[in-house]
């Protein structure tokens, strides 16, 4: 009897200690649901489709990840600024939200290998005829608050001694484009992908894509809690397999209408 009890106690202790070391990967599998954060006002990476359902490249990645994990996927819509708080508060397990992998940010959150590379670009009314980045000097420029292109633009403007009086930040990507459309600003900075999507709509028929931000590739990764090393390992392998198994190209083709450029695939393979 006593031996049986002792065995039971040991078994319980063993179980709890197993639970105590359960990491994010275990938690997600045991829960049966992946809480995946995506920025849904950033087409074609994340947006709402005509049925008001989340769609886009990042959403496809969430679904692919859920599939390999064998769990359901719960997509959470985030703004740029919500990405980190959502991870820290445990609302999301992972954020697939085009997060630029700066070393400063990596002190706070864990980054995977890169999964996409953007270019930052200017979009303006065709009358403004912006040839180079230096032409922005006396124009009113805007960008979405808390994005890397805002940081890059401000760094550039500071270096040129332009000051910040002509700069306006917007709460979201949609607001930035609304501000441009209404003429609150002459030009905004966004990613080449988002700009290409917007230019296809009739509202932006009179607008043109301008020069790229000089000397800058925006390399983005998936983010998770910094100390969840095993989970980040898993996500890294997932990204490698996305390319190897052709899922990356499939998602790219679906949302950009063409195959992924060979140089993009190669730079992701090289983890640049």
């Amino acid at each position: 009897m006593i031996r049986k009890l002792a065995t039971l106690v040991f078994a319980c202790a063993a179980l709890t200690s197993v639970n105590a070391t359960a990491d994010q990967l275990d938690t997600v599998i045991q829960r049966g649901t992946l809480n995946c954060g995506v920025v849904l006002d950033f087409p074609p990476m994340g947006y709402f489709d005509e049925n008001n359902e989340p769609a886009g490249f990042d959403v496809d990645y969430c679904n692919d990840l859920g599939e390999v994990l064998g769990v359901d996927v719960n997509i959470l819509n985030l703004t740029w600024g919500d990405r980190i708080p959502s991870l820290i508060s445990g609302k999301t397990d992972v954020v697939i939200g085009s997060t630029s992998d700066t070393l400063e940010r990596a002190k706070t959150v864990g980054f995977t290998y890169p999964y996409f590379v953007f270019k930052f670009q200017v979009i303006a009314h065709e009358d403004k005829s912006i040839k180079s980045f230096a032409d922005l000097e006396n124009l009113k420029v805007g960008a979405a608050l808390g994005t890397t292109y805002e940081t890059e633009y401000l760094a550039y403007a500071d270096k040129q001694g332009w000051g910040r009086d002509n700069y306006t930040s917007f709460k979201s990507e949609n607001d930035a484009f609304l501000g441009l459309y209404q003429g609150k600003v002459d030009a905004i900075i966004s990613t080449n992908t988002n700009i290409a999507t917007k230019l296809r709509s009739k509202e932006f028929a009179d607008f043109v894509a301008g020069p790229y931000v000089p000397n800058y590739d925006d390399v983005v990764g998936i983010i998770a809690k910094r100390d969840e090393v095993a989970w980040i390992n898993y996500l890294n392998l997932f990204l490698v397999r996305q390319i190897r198994d052709g899922n990356m190209n499939k998602a790219y083709n679906k949302h950009f209408g063409v195959d992924a450029p060979a140089e993009l695939i190669q730079s992701l393979r090289d983890n640049k």
């Binding site: 740029w80 600024g81 990405r83 980190i84 708080p85 820290i88 700066t102 400063e104 940010r105 002190k107 706070t108 959150v109 805007g142 608050l145 808390g146 994005t147 805002e150 940081t151 306006t168 930040s169 917007f170 709460k171 607001d175 609304l178 501000g179 209404q182 003429g183 609150k184 100390d227």
Partner: protein, 221 residues
């Protein structure tokens, strides 16, 4: 919670945060002053017998009090923008706050005016005062004393509401905090410091308004 705080990044950016705090204080003080002036006019208009003024004041008060501040700031910025009127983020937030402050304070002031017996007005007239003098020396001082506390409440409220300026990209305390935290992702640290700053600002405002009250009303409050 397994989270390590990194405070040094916040201290490195303290000048920018203080700058943001100054903008917050600046816009709310200005919004309060303008709001008080407009509210006095609206309160008088509301008690006026001329239907037109009374209606204007009523519509103002009803809209200001029964719609969210968020919506009003958005309307001032993007709403007017749709008609080609482009206010800067600062002016958009300022005008929305003035609109709200005036709306709320109108009712406070009207209550204040009505709490002064009309016989006092008649009495000052019989002493040979003009209408202006009666208001200036008899009615307003008593009214202001009665509504001083509700008025400071509105002031604090407008300081806190100015944080909605972040919606239209204003670089006040919240906007600056949001931008700085996106560089390092040290969200908690920056937000905690910003909250402390809001607390200090409102406490300072309350303290100086009680000092002012002591001077103005000589302790009779």
């Amino acid at each position: 919670m397994d989270y390590e705080f990194h405070w040094n990044i916040v201290f490195q950016n303290m000048p920018e945060l203080l700058n943001g705090a100054f903008v917050t204080l600046h816009v709310s003080v200005l919004a309060m002053l303008l709001g008080v002036v407009i509210a006095i006019l609206l309160a008088i208009a509301k008690m006026n017998n001329t239907k037109f003024f009374c209606h204007v004041a009523t519509v103002w008060v009803e809209i200001a009090r029964n719609t969210p501040a968020l919506f009003q700031i958005y309307m001032a910025y993007f709403g007017l923008g749709a008609f080609g009127i482009h206010l800067s983020p600062y002016v958009a937030v300022l005008s929305a706050l003035v609109f709200i402050n005036a709306g709320y304070l109108t009712e406070t002031f009207r209550g204040g005016f009505q709490s002064i017996p009309t016989t006092q007005y008649s009495a000052s007239k019989s002493l040979g005062m003009t209408s202006f003098q009666a208001y200036r020396y008899i009615i307003l001082p008593q009214m202001l004393r009665r509504i001083y506390h509700p008025m400071t409440n509105q002031f604090v409220w407008s300081i806190l509401m100015s944080s909605l300026g972040i919606l239209v990209g204003m670089s006040e305390l919240s906007g600056t905090t949001q931008r700085l935290q996106s560089l390092s992702f040290r969200t908690l640290e920056f937000f905690i410091v910003a909250a402390v700053m809001y607390f200090v600002i409102t406490k300072l405002v309350l303290f100086s308004s009680s000092l002012l009250a002591r001077r103005l009303f000589k302790g009779e409050i």
